[in-house]
């Protein structure tokens, strides 16, 4: 019997076809997800622009601008939070396309702007909703990752419990964004996870629901 040499190159050919198809399929799927998230961002950005104009409009034209602006802000806050969770999931599953990081930076900037607007509204309208900023690391150490996983679950429960009364804004501290650096210095944030409640109280390390609720209650 003659050695069947042809199977070597045929196997190579099949492998190339399946491998390239698989990689392309994976790339297509991930690109679709990136496109989907970009589309969501665009919607969020448009909504945010709309919310800002509405806010300005209410300030200029109507005496009851607070109520409407806050309502818009809270709706927007919920949406930003939900989109944030989706983004995290997509980011973790993408293996080939890592370009999502750039979009994340834009997203973080949007969240920062939104937060500052919330602070302004709270001050102007003397409302009692809570701003809770959750500082985490994009590239954490193993210990930080474990702590962040635990804190994220706790905050998710807290958010579910308090709904729109709580504006939960997660911010990564290790992205190359100047405002984040300013915030870190201003609030002395050296380690993560850390929480900033109503721009006044900083909590380091993992906090339970009860601890956070107590701090919010005491601070009011």
């Amino acid at each position: 019997m003659v050695m069947q040499k042809d199977v070597f190159w045929k196997a190579g050919l099949f492998t190339l076809v399946v491998f390239i198809s698989g990689v392309l399929l994976g790339y297509f799927l991930e690109s679709n997800r990136v496109d989907e998230i970009r589309e969501e961002y665009r919607n969020v950005e448009t909504q945010w622009a709309d919310a800002k104009i509405q806010s300005s409009f209410y300030q200029l034209m109507t005496p009851s601008f607070c109520e409407e602006s806050i309502k818009e802000n809270l709706n927007f806050a919920d949406r930003v939070y939900r989109e944030g969770l989706k983004l995290e999931e997509y980011e973790q599953s993408n293996r080939i396309t890592k370009e999502i990081l750039y979009d994340k930076e834009r997203y973080v900037l949007l969240k920062l702007e939104f937060w500052i607007n919330s602070v302004y509204l709270k001050d102007k309208c003397k409302t009692n909703y809570t701003n809770l900023i959750y500082f985490y690391a994009q590239n954490p150490s193993l210990e930080q990752k474990g702590e962040q996983d635990s804190q994220a679950l706790i905050l998710k429960d807290l958010k579910n419990k308090h709904g729109a009364e709580l504006m939960l804004i997660p911010l990564p501290i290790d992205l190359n964004i100047a405002t984040i650096s300013i915030l870190r210095d201003a609030y002395n944030i050296d380690d993560v996870p850390a929480l900033l409640i109503n721009e006044k109280i900083k909590l380091d390390g993992v906090q339970s629901i009860e601890e956070i609720e107590n701090v919010i209650k005491d601070g009011m």
Partner: protein, 405 residues
């Protein structure tokens, strides 16, 4: 794309290549797997049976060899007592019609070489003292020697003792090995001639100066040696023998360490053949294939170990913090499967492997042994997973120079 993703993709590529190679070989030759022809003029055979402390099986083994359907005048049985401390020699002396060679314990390879010196047959058959060939095994195998380039022929080795779980798992494994080895034959790459049942052209054995007594797996080394001299090594799936396998985990582990270390010794001895044409298929496929196998197993094991350790550390910190902050320790809704490139390849390769195993068992398990779905699952999900751990243990044993058994 990060480093780990790159390594995974490389693994996938190699796995796909090997899978397609075997699938193609199978589909091209599936009607010929059991094909054999009978020789009109049969050669003389010397059957060498090395034995070390084999009092429990030696008599039955020799009886099964004596009962082979092969002209008695053409068969010479040489039993080698390798310094046994039990009744092996005494039993051998009570058996008529065999030659007995008794010596100090010096290992299997040396025993075979000593027997080779007095063997008269044109063909040398090796039959372990705990292996029992089917009656027509030799008749089916010798035909291959019609081709002058064939230096060795091996048969299918199956498990005789299938009582406990470990033995049943080995039974599945041996069937898959037989199937895989037959597929290797079509690319002239049979890389081992197991002592349970193998035949050699005596002149070829003499040319390579017999078995390497410094190697723990003389049956792998001799096959590579013959390949390096451009001899062909064939596999007759229809020729069957039944062997006794380790019944407990400790013995099984020791056996596998010996196989792995012997394999490493052989790989090291023939590494110079890598990609060199003058060594034929040994340099073109066998050495690169096994080098890649060892390297990938090694890298794969450490990457898996790293990922598992990383995961355990993260989960440990998360568990600790959740516990002390009254949060849920585990939440099923937090697990989301978002498909990525590895999901497709993972599912694809899993089904390819499952299909390969199913085809292999269907082709080889002609006696319809009851394998059992649970045993099959344990074999696929746990038994095979021990392979890289064994490799690492073998490398460790080699590094510390602990090669004795």
């Amino acid at each position: 794309m990060d480093f780990i993703t790159g390594v995974y993709l490389f693994f996938i590529f190699v796995s796909l290549y090997v899978s397609f190679l075997f699938i193609l070989i199978y589909f091209k030759n599936r009607d010929d797997l059991y094909k054999y022809e009978l020789m009109k003029k049969l050669p003389s055979i010397s059957v060498l049976i090395p034995a070390y402390n084999e009092e429990e099986s030696i008599k039955e083994t020799i009886e099964s060899v004596k009962n082979l359907e092969y002209p008695k005048e053409l068969i010479e049985i040489i039993a080698v007592n390798d310094g046994s401390k039990d009744r092996t020699l005494e039993i051998l002396k009570s058996i008529n019609g065999i030659k007995i060679l008794s010596k100090e314990n010096s290992g299997k390879a040396d025993s075979l070489n000593k027997a080779l010196e007095i063997a008269k047959g044109e063909i040398i058959a090796i039959n372990d003292a705990d292996s029992f060939p089917e009656k027509d095994a030799f008749l089916k195998m010798v035909y291959y020697f019609k081709d002058e380039k064939v230096g060795a022929v091996t048969g299918s080795v199956f498990v005789k003792n299938r009582n406990n779980l470990l033995e049943k798992l080995q039974s599945i494994e041996y069937m898959m090995i037989a199937f895989g080895r037959k597929l290797f034959e079509y690319i002239d790459s049979v890389f081992v001639t197991p002592g349970a049942l193998s035949m050699y052209r005596k002149s070829a054995l003499m040319e390579v100066k017999g078995f390497d007594s410094n190697n723990l797996t003389e049956d792998i080394e001799i096959a590579w040696n013959l390949l390096s001299k451009l001899y062909k090594v064939k596999m007759c799936l229809a020729a069957k023998t039944y062997t006794i396998v380790p019944s407990n985990f400790k013995l099984w582990w020791r056996q596998r360490l010996r196989w792995d270390i012997g394999g490493f010794q052989t790989l090291n001895k023939y590494k110079h053949a890598m990609f060199r044409n003058k060594y034929g298929v040994l340099g073109g496929f066998v050495v690169p294939f096994f080098s890649s196998y060892v390297l990938l197993s090694f890298i794969g094991f450490f990457i898996s170990l790293f990922m598992i350790a990383r995961r355990i550390t993260v989960e440990g910190f998360s568990f600790y913090n959740s516990y002390f902050n009254d949060a849920d320790l585990f939440r099923i809704e937090e697990f989301h499967l978002i498909p990525n490139v590895f999901t497709f390849f993972g599912i694809f390769l899993f089904f390819v492997f499952l299909t390969y195993t199913a085809i292999g068992l269907k082709m080889v398990n002609k006696e319809k042994q009851n394998i059992g779905k649970t045993n099959m699952l344990i074999y696929l999900l746990f038994y095979l997973m021990l392979t890289p751990i064994l490799l690492i243990h073998s490398i460790y044993r080699m590094l510390i120079g602990k090669l004795q058994w």
